[in-house]
């Protein structure tokens, strides 16, 4: 497919426009087409990239100029929707938040490897079936539960009480944490870090009255006690949530039966 001949960006042999200042990189992508392939394989694309590009730009360029069948999820492109978590150079990241300049090799040609999240069923190329992840999320009751009559005024909360679960409100459900967890890889019935993070968000909310219910759920065999404090989740979270700390706070709440 030929790129439209414009005056400014020169066209690279790959067909991807090469703006000024771009460097050549190899993007190695794990491809899988369920209608043709019996298992995934790697394919490499030599394309130009600006150091200020995000990995998502490279994927979009490959899709637009080289192979339109490349499949991946993305929506906001600004680290907010949580659609494009994937393994970039072996670690779980949002493709829209990783800059090419942070991946450039010190010398020689840069190779960027991109693979889908591990531990969830692969559907095509870079996207996986998120349903098991959302099932775990739903099962910790991620909504406000309050008993008794509804108050006539808003539910007031002090800044100090809000602060207790502030960190875990930032979750965008990208699944980067859960699919970086070795316990989850081995045992997919483990609730996983993201479900615990979202339980934490309500357990420590002074307006919520179902902490006990959620703690009981997480006290079970597939709950928080499966966590081995590997810290992969904290390292993976694109929102900078201290995931392992949140899990530890839930463990402590269970241990002392005090929220």
């Amino acid at each position: 497919m030929a790129a439209p001949a414009t005056a400014e960006p020169t066209t690279h042999p790959s067909g991807v426009p090469a703006p000024e200042g771009s460097v050549d990189v190899t993007v190695k992508i794990q491809r899988f087409n369920p209608e043709q392939d019996s298992e995934p394989h790697w394919e490499s694309y030599d394309i130009p990239a600006l150091p200020t590009d995000r990995v998502l730009n490279l994927l979009i360029n490959i899709k637009s100029y080289i192979d339109g069948s490349l499949a991946f999820r993305r929506s906001c492109a600004h680290g907010i929707c949580g659609s494009d978590a994937m393994q970039i150079n072996g670690v779980n990241r949002l493709a829209c938040k990783v800059l090419v300049k942070d991946l450039l090799a010190k010398k020689g040609k840069t190779t960027i490897t991109v693979a889908p999240l591990k531990g969830l069923p692969l559907l095509k190329d870079l996207y996986v079936d998120m349903e098991p992840f959302f099932e775990a999320y739903r099962s910790i009751k991620p909504y406000l539960i309050a008993y008794g009559n509804e108050p006539t005024r808003e539910r007031i909360q002090s800044p100090a009480d809000r602060e207790r679960f502030d960190d875990t409100t930032k979750c965008i459900l990208c699944a980067a944490c859960t699919t970086s967890c070795p316990v989850y890889w081995a045992d997919g019935t483990y609730f996983g870090p993201a479900a615990i993070v979202n339980a934490h968000r309500f357990i420590f909310d002074s307006r919520d009255e179902a902490a006990e219910e959620r703690l009981d759920i997480l006290n079970d065999a597939e709950g928080v006690w499966r966590c081995r404090t590997t810290f992969n989740c904290t390292d993976a979270c694109p929102r900078g949530i201290e995931v392992t700390k949140a899990i530890q706070e839930v463990k402590r709440a269970l241990l002392f039966r005090r929220v």
């Binding site: 369920p34 209608e35 531990g119 969830l120 069923p121 692969l122 559907l123 095509k124 996207y127 079936d129 998120m130 349903e131 098991p132 099932e135 775990a136 099962s139 316990v183 081995a186 045992d187 997919g188 019935t189 009981d216 759920i217 006290n219 079970d220 065999a221 597939e222 709950g223 006690w225 499966r226 463990k251 269970l254 241990l255």
Partner: protein, 138 residues
């Protein structure tokens, strides 16, 4: 979600079947036990290794008489008994966790755990028996 309908039959290691919460504190206590027994084992095991392998002459001075001498004292009997039970339960519980991690099939899980529990019981009974019935005069 639409995309989950069209894909060919893929291996679904994650198909979730979540049984209702059992309302048991077993996992909580076993987690707690791992930390407390771990702390005790630091003293017990390192002390044991130090006495047996480093202290005057180390391993070369160990013989029947040395063991007999130690076990004539209730203190070392208790030390070894505690170390035996804690290490066995700690190591056994650790292996139980690992079996839960890696065994995919219910039957594999069951039989590996049976093997584990039987071997734990044999070693615990045998070890305890030896510590209590040891006769220095045979």
């Amino acid at each position: 979600m639409a995309e989950s309908t069209t894909a060919i039959a893929l291996d679904r290691p994650r198909s979730p079947r979540r049984p209702a919460a059992r309302r048991s504190n077993f996992e909580l206590y076993s987690w707690l036990f791992m930390r407390i027994s771990g702390l005790a084992l630091v003293v017990l095991v390192l002390g044991h290794l130090f006495i047996m392998n480093i202290l005057d002459g180390g391993v070369h001075r160990i013989n029947f008489a040395f063991v007999a001498g130690r076990w004539s004292s209730p203190f070392w009997q208790f030390w070894d008994l505690l170390m035996l039970w804690l290490a066995q339960l700690h190591g056994g519980n650790g292996l139980r966790t690992i079996i839960d991690d890696y065994a995919r099939k219910g039957s594999t899980r069951f039989w590996l755990k049976m093997l584990l529990y039987v071997s734990m019981a044999v070693i615990l009974v045998l070890g305890t028996l030896v510590i209590f019935t040891f006769d220095p005069n045979i």
